[in-house]
Amino acid sequence: RRRRWWWKLQLQHCLSLTGDRRTGLHMADTGLLESLLRLLEKVDGGTDSQDVAADLGVDHQVIVGAVKSLQALGEVISTEQKSSKHWELTGEGREIAEQGSHEARVFNAIPDEGLPQNELMKMPSGKVGFSKAMSNKWIRLDKAHEGGPRVFKTVETIEDTVRDKLQLVQKGQSAKLEDKEKNELKKRKLLSEVTVKSYWITKGSSFSTTITKQETELTPEMIASGSWKEKNFKPYNFEAMGVAPDCGHLHPLMKVRTQFRQIFLEMGFTEMPTNNFIESSFWNFDSLFQPQQHPARDQHDTFFISDPALAHEFPQDYMERVKKVHSEGGYGSQGYKYDWKIEEAQKNLLRTHTTAVSARMLYKLAQQKFTPVKYFSIDRVFRNETLDATHLAEFHQIEGVVADYGLTLGNLMGVLHQFFTKLGITKLRFKPAYNPYTEPSMEVFSYHEGLKKWVEVGNSGVFRPEMLLPMGLPEGVSVIAWGLSLERPTMIKYGINNIRELVGHKVNLQMVYDSPICRLDS
């Protein structure tokens, strides 16, 4: 998830507030902050927040709060968290530091004439104090005394070492005690060892002993009054991300389509009307000299239409010529020598390639005085194929067609070279291939620097005379063409492995939001 810079600022602010709340200190209470800074000014190499607390005579937690307030001001101080072990009085320990040890209290309660034992035992410190004072040999017990057992002092004065030791700890001078002594007091539950988190405070890069309130943002009022000149501004956190602009996004495949369209337009190609997904077998196959038993015309490869099942209108003369070239040949061809059926040609289908549109366009071109043309299209085609991570039942085909007198195979390679150069692909080579409606047919390979091998990037060829001549195109006219899919270059460009994340409703919208602009040549 994106973190936003203001979010981080707010969080910081929030931290300093919690610090303040904990200590009951407000930002306005600059007195303490300035005392801290003055103290820091005098020491070289920094000081510990615990020492500051001791020096200023305030609770350590108050200093912790002050440090947090100073942190929020930017680089006034820099701090480092430390933790140290520390001896502290327990509740009972504090009581003893104030009122003396139980044994001392017992001793002091006994007048010279002694005290009955049962009375002494009623004192709060009676039980513990009695046994301790006894073992210190400060007092003695006369069991046989008339009127019951009675306690007497045995010494004039005593020294209350327990209290003295505890008072030392209270003053933060626990180091003066030996470990053995401290452990004994710990055993008596008068002392405990605690871990104290403190700060090691040093001067920051913008250290100053006076506190000026920092402004978060520049305001119109500051600009108007010029007060910004005197203000100190809270530093920005440049590590955080900015706020995402509230905008819409274009789909990556469509962005790539736009670029391919642009390339064709730059090369002088005119866009063909491909807005007809439903096509007859005639234009999709027969007009392209694809025989009626060709496997591509199988139910397994092509979506046929049940409603409207048949196309009902064809250019009659042309259809007769197509029938003849398939079944008997002509135009210098042997033909396929089979019984061509109009019923097969009439079958409607979802076009399997945009070349069906190229055929319509070339037929149309042949009906007028010939002028050279360059055509292109990028649109959907449909295949009734097995679906996997890189194949869907529909995809976009990119197609380019050039018709002119005397075009050569070398010309086709030249055009392909120019086209692929615009895609940033300059290393091309061509492999002989087979395609029912082009001869020669070439697969286009480009050298993939990452994979260190030649990969197929498109298909191309010269349309067969058996396709062109029945249309009525002049004998000397050659038509060169090539095609590729839009999805494959897009998946490579945007690093997408599963086509479903790109095309269709299962698209990952986050991917759409995050996808960069498309420059195919970089």
Partner: protein
């Protein structure tokens, strides 16, 4: 594209040269083949069935080579080697000859009876005499028939091939058709006799044969071939008889092909190499029901004459007629300069049925020259580019819809009937939808008639994204239209949805106003656009309006009906707009 798998070492032995994988790949590329995979039987088994099953399988290196779909002469090791050797000028293309029986005897004869009229009244036959098979050659022979069955024979629907050990049968042979109940024989690899009816149910579960049953299953008569003693050769296109099945040490092969002489030519030319006199095939006579007698195999050679200039101009090279003739000869098209100008006589052998036009010869010249040796040049064709107005408008609108804060979706043009009807509370009969006859799943029943279902499904797949979700698509839907030659047309539409905790009708309405502003259409009841309350079952009652531009209805906008929302597995209110953009061209 068919793939031929050959043993590498056997291939190199036949080529008389060893190649590295890279070198061989390069040779394939140049010749128009593709070295698709380098593997072994062991690798294949372990990949398909696990390492355990692969234990003990052969690890002889196999090359899987993709062959162009029209080159049936390259579908076996013999053909590949012959093609490559001629290409490398290490071998001259052989001349295939049809000969009479060596011992001066009568040729084998196949008589076709009238009954075959209802099945396939055509068959051709030939004999490979005195042939020497090894294990490898035998396997290759069987494999070629299988490859041909899958390709040129279109999974045996067009052509069926049968090859039999001639020493176990005796002619003349009869090709007839009988009711399945009357046919009874012991089929290949079975130990007892079955009737044809029994066989059809026996093979229902056979992984391989069940795919061919449909070809004759519903015919009243099944095709069947007998020898003079009533031994069944085969019941094409399903199975051969067991008695005459081929074994390694056979002497002569009787080949029968139903329907196509090209296929027969292919089988016999490839393996006549192993005959006592290589590349000869013994003839066989076929007597047709009308009494016609034909002799096969045809092994016809055809000569085409074309000029060197034609090749040079089409390919874009400048070679002498002599050198072009040499190039073509390397492609098994024996050629020579005729002496008349730059005319070249090209002989097309029976193995090259793919050569049907001068352009096929031109391609072979280009392949032999080397595609990658041809100089690349820019055509001088001068043209001015034009955009299709509909696509130009679409491109411009897309940009501005994204600028308006909506994100572009790209949804499928095919969907289920339910998507465009039930889920939108519409009746399928009223949608004008184009229906697909052979969908593999419900996802491809119809072409979409509106863009809305795709956008709603996109929302459903992205419910985890922060709200609001604002999507649009400008694309084609398909509607039946009698006025078009195919009875249907595309319609370019703009659809957008707003999905949030509140319906946001005003957001979608605002988008309409913005789109109209972009299209320079003012809000005006007569000359501009306006919306008007409407009832549409997809929308929440009272929350739908019809959009008019210059008095013509162009679409709807509104808050979707709660049932529509839940049927698309959504939980929040949603408003939508759907308009036709073609009136704005």
């Amino acid at each position: 594209m068919p793939t031929v798998s050959v043993k590498r070492d056997l291939l190199f032995e036949a080529l008389g040269q060893k190649y590295t994988d890279e070198e061989f790949d390069e040779l394939c590329f140049e010749f128009g083949l593709e070295l698709d995979e380098i593997t072994s039987e062991k690798d294949i088994i372990s990949r398909e069935q696990g390492d355990e099953k692969a234990e003990g399988a052969s690890d002889v290196v196999l090359y899987k080579i993709d062959v162009p779909a029209n080159r049936y002469d390259l579908l076996c090791l013999e053909g590949l080697v012959r093609g490559l050797q001629v290409f490398k000028e290490k071998l001259e293309a052989p001349r295939y000859k049809r000969v009479s029986p060596a011992d001066g005897g009568e040729p084998q004869r196949l008589v076709i009876t009238d009954e075959t009229a209802s099945v396939r009244p055509h068959a051709v036959a030939a004999v490979l005499h005195d042939v020497t098979f090894t294990q490898e050659r035998y396997e290759s022979f069987i494999e070629l028939q299988e490859k041909l069955h899958q390709n040129i024979c279109r999974k045996r629907t067009l052509v069926a091939i049968g090859t039999h050990d001639l020493d176990t049968i005796s002619g003349p042979f009869t090709y007839t058709a009988k009711p399945p109940g009357d046919i009874r024989f012991k089929p290949l690899n079975q130990s007892k006799e079955y009737t044809a009816t029994e066989l059809m149910s026996l093979y229902k579960t056979d992984g391989h044969l069940r795919h061919y049953l449909h070809i004759i299953e519903n015919e009243p008569l099944y095709p069947i071939i007998y020898d003079s003693n009533g031994i069944v050769l085969s019941m094409p296109p399903i199975i051969n008889g067991d008695n005459c099945s081929m074994l390694l040490n056979l002497k002569s092969v009787f080949c029968v092909c139903l329907q196509a002489k090209t296929t027969l030519d292919m089988v016999v030319t490839m393996f006549s190499e192993y005959c006592e006199e290589p590349f000869t095939v013994e003839e066989a006579e076929v007597v047709y029901p009308d009494g016609r007698l034909c002799v096969y195999p045809e092994l016809a050679y055809r000569t085409e004459t074309l000029s060197g200039d034609f090749i040079n101009k089409r390919v874009g090279i400048n070679e002498s007629a002599e050198s072009i003739a040499q190039l073509l000869t390397r492609m098994c098209l024996r050629s020579e300069v005729s002496g008349e100008g730059d005319l070249i006589q090209v002989e097309i052998p029976p193995t090259r049925a793919d050569v049907i036009h001068a352009c096929d010869i031109m391609e072979d010249a280009a392949i032999a020259y080397g595609f990658n040796n041809i100089v690349r040049s820019t055509p001088r064709t001068y043209t001015v580019a034009n955009q299709l107005p509909l696509n130009k408008l679409t491109e411009l609108l897309r940009q501005d819809l994204a600028a308006a804060g909506f994100t572009e979706a790209l949804t499928f043009a095919l969907c289920s009937e339910e998507d465009i009807a039930d889920k939108l509370r519409k009746n399928i009969a009223e949608t004008r939808a184009v229906h697909i006859s052979n969908p593999k799943t419900a996802e491809f029943q119809v072409a979409r008639t509106c863009l809305l279902p795709g956008l709603l499904k996109t929302l459903a797949a992205n419910r985890k994204m922060p709200l609001p979700l604002k999507l649009f698509e400008i694309s084609d839907v398909v509607l039946k239209d009698e006025t078009k030659d195919v009875g249907a047309r595309n319609n370019r539409r703009l659809c957008a949805v707003y999905y949030n905790k509140s319906p946001g009708f005003e957001v979608i309405h605002g988008l309409l106003d913005r789109v109209m502003q972009l299209l320079d259409v003012k809000p005006d009841r007569n000359q501009g656009y306006h919306i008007q309350a409407a009832e549409d079952s997809t929308f929440f009652p009272g929350r739908c309006a019809e959009i008019f531009s210059c008095g013509k209805s162009i679409g709807h906008l509104g808050v979707l009906h709660p049932d529509v929302i839940s049927r698309f597995e959504l939980t929040m209110p949603c408003s939508a707009i759907d308009i036709d953009i073609e009136p704005f061209l």
